[in-house]
Point group: D2
Chain length 314, copies 4
């Protein structure tokens, strides 16, 4: 029996490239869906054991829809993260040349990332916004009943792997402005089993500040800094009820099995019970977490034993 993994399809997307890195998913069923909400819906409904979703981009930052979904859909957990380098090619129907291109279909984020090249190479182009790069690229090949092209676009921005799946012509390669662009993907499930600690882990949570202590973000963040815990990501997202109210997405270095992380989580919870634990999981870069020895598990255990000893005597 096989497990099903949902991902933003169709084949050839960066999300699929991320899914290829998920060891447990190899040889299983891969279910291509059309957006992050659908992928997470599969997981919640049990149609899939897990979904791969983009959560952060080195150029554009946090993926809002992913962050908002993780904050508001109960029971989701991140159990892995994967990095995929981002690059783009300009594709068209076979036979098309660069000089033929007037209208370019592209997801707004991809379009923005290729601005420099587009303005230089095709200064007079028009942009046709698309909700999926791969989808708009494949639409270039579709025809209507009369045999005319279904899309009004002449070309599309797509990941290089597109040509593994579709018979498209590559008009230009490496058109992304920032060659170091990378996207971070999360493997999301509803299982509450936490991946074992590896010494190179990350813990994610989402928290709202208590309403009666607005502006006390620093106090919440100090729960980590006073325990020697490094924060690798802090993003804010509007809660949506009124301007100025935010929830915060926080990634810290370490695993909930680490004493200092468990202690910091308790500190955060005491500060605000509106906190969602998103998971502890191995870092994609496998870099061991460094921290001051005074926050080690051994030191925590000794301190707890000391106080327990004092209390047990009475």
């Amino acid at each position: 029996m096989t497990d099903t993994y949902s991902y933003l399809g169709p084949a050839g997307t960066f999300t699929e490239a991320a899914l290829r890195q998920v060891e447990a998913a190899q040889g299983q069923d891969w279910r291509a869906v059309s957006n992050i909400g659908e992928a997470l819906g599969d997981v919640v409904a049990g149609r899939s054991v897990a979904a791969v979703i983009a959560i952060e981009n080195s150029i554009d930052g946090g993926v809002s829809v992913a962050q908002d979904a993780l904050a508001t859909i109960p029971g989701l957990r991140i159990i892995g993260e994967y990095l995929v380098p981002i690059s783009f090619v300009l594709v068209a129907r076979p036979g098309t040349t660069l000089a033929d291109v007037t209208t370019i279909a592209a997801h707004p984020v991809a379009y923005a990332q290729c601005q420099g090249w587009l303005n230089a190479a095709l200064p007079a182009h028009h942009h046709l916004p698309a909700s999926s790069n791969v989808q708009s690229a494949t639409q270039l090949l579709e025809v209507d009943e009369a045999g005319n092209p279904a899309s009004i676009a002449d070309a599309a921005i797509a990941p290089p792997t597109i040509i593994d799946h579709y018979d498209l012509a590559v008009l230009a390669e490496g058109i992304i402005d920032n060659a170091a662009a990378v996207t971070r993907f999360a493997l999301v499930t509803t299982s509450t089993a936490i991946p074992a600690s590896t010494g190179a882990d990350k813990t994610s949570l989402i928290a709202e500040l208590p309403t009666d202590r607005a502006g006390s973000l620093v106090e919440m963040l100090e729960q980590f800094s006073t325990r020697g815990v490094n924060m690798s990501l802090l993003e804010s997202r509007p809660i949506g009820d009124e301007l100025g109210r935010h929830r915060f997405i926080v990634d810290v270095d370490g695993h909930i099995n680490d004493e200092r992380i468990a202690d910091a989580l308790q500190g955060v919870y005491r500060f605000t019970s509106k906190v969602v634990f998103l998971g502890s999981y191995p870092r994609a870069d496998r870099q061991p977490v460094l921290f001051d020895e005074r926050y080690s598990d051994a030191v925590y255990r000794e301190a707890r034993a000391w106080v327990a000893g004092l209390l047990s005597e009475s």
Copy 2:
């Protein structure tokens, strides 16, 4: 002689509604442009004295393109902020009924904000992404050479004011899911003159953490908290050079003419010289800033006078 103000047009946009709130702009030239970059470009090039741009939305959070532009284009200053309540209507060519609607043109952000209503009222609709709501609405009225509709959309999501300018039929009103939605706009200029302190002010800045002290965000934020300065906004945006490196957009309550703000700014600068002062300006809500008396100007002046007195004696 009149001054020119740039804004995201065409007439009928929320940005135009914000510009209507700018007292100095009344009776001046209003220049409609097609995106935020163009608006700021006008200001930098001197084609306009100021531009109004959306910078934060109560549903979607910070406007990334605005934040990134303010962070990277030198010499920009915010001199005012304005709030515009957001609501949407569904418009179509006169004669169209709701039952006729299959394809809906909308900017992805507006589309996302109307999901609930759309799924209930038009479960089988298709979405045609647009780069401008007003523009896609007006395109409903355009015809090609053959006299056929130029747009493949049947309807568009647009601000209610659209009907003041165009002959469109309103198929549904109040279709936004969150009736309290509001967008914050900034009036941006290149003048370094800082608006006078009003007692109800906000100060905005953008800062990068020093590279050699990654993760020290808390320490930077403490520059404000230890001086009794409340932070009303903290957003992070990727710097773009590598995953995990961010700059932070910070709004705090108070004016650079307030001693505690000037002192906190110095503290931030000592922490990181990669800091951009975006301006001090009156808060849109005109709520006076409250703070502990021990951080008042008088207390600051007394303390400075005390130390100055000690030093002058020697």
Copy 3:
């Protein structure tokens, strides 16, 4: 069978007045000793179940010898504190008048506390330092083999209760300069049983800063402040090995059975394992400890249960 309590005697001392406040000591054996070291020695050797010693004076501060003994003698615990108002009378052999007084015997601390009155009433007096006020007062009544007064003093400073025990003449009352003077006494034992929490408790400890982080006192004290724990006493005492190295005597509001105190103690221990828990015991003033509700036991338990729940699922 009776228990023995050691105290700085002889009868009539302020320490005896403190011992009178110790409920458990009523009807037991009271053993008068000549100094604090002897009193604590009785406790350590098992000759007494407890000792009452002066530990703080509202005029002179911490009693160094008591603090140093508590820091260096292992196994001592404070189980109660008692306040005794301090006042002094000037006593002499019956028949002596104020005009006859030239030399005044007094412990240096008592002498210092009566400076104002002495300089006004007896400007030409001499001071004979004594190691015990009551003892030097009683010596006024002793005679040598020849029948001459054994003491060269004409008068002595003593507590008012001296005349309950000895046939001395009171030359002047209320001679202490500060009428509000009060001394704090501790009931010290070697039992590790901690008095039950009363809601109006104090916890005492003595800690050394780690040698490799000199100057980090603030960081240690933050273990309390970040948990809403108020510190009512902070005294430093030289460790003695080199100038500038101190240990710190700390009293905080609360009981080790309070979650926030137990948590803070763990924090201190992680910071420095050179910490001595001196005890949790009812405050002499019986004032309930006030603290922010977010540091309540319930909040601590909820936070711990939350993290425990997360961990148990994995």
Copy 4:
């Protein structure tokens, strides 16, 4: 014309040894007085340009009477500090042997420092408390009208230099228990001229916590720690009005001419206006003050210039 310097005499005291280290005092008039109060009284009254007083002892800690005098006598300033190693000899009238010694005269502090040796060598001795070691030693040589010794003591504890001035026999040398004992002396004046910064300086102050924020000691101390300023001494002394109210004596590394120190002093003053600046002066050990470069004068000046630039433009 010569200047007068007051010190705790008579000749041979440790204070005199400290005065010998004061360069400006060489060849001037040295005025021996009998206690610290008298020495400071000379300075206040203008009888002396400065006084040398003991302020801290590596064994016994802060000298309470000195700390209280500096806190309560207005207008005093410390302009130098000096370290004197402490050692003691046991002296007696010529002809006396150790076996003859029954009663030993000694200041209680000196007596306490020699406990170990005394208990080992003279277990059956009696202690005659004295207000001055040197004085009680010299009294050994005095005789009354009948030619009998004026003192009932057989021996006295005194500094080794005593034999440079008096014809006393040394019965034992090096009798202090801690061979590393050292006392810190301050040179005190009423001049408000602050000694020039040397890069190896210390700044002393005395502060009371504001009455309405009891327990906020940590917040005051953070004024230093958040500016990278190391605190080398923190002592508390009762204010005297009620138990539990203290003032704090603070020594920090650095000079008021250092930007970070001046800034920290302003922070302290904003926190509590009940603060006394006792002076900035060269450290006795001449060790250069080390601090993080980000708190350097240059960084402070740049930050101030940045904000000044922003303000001047408006």
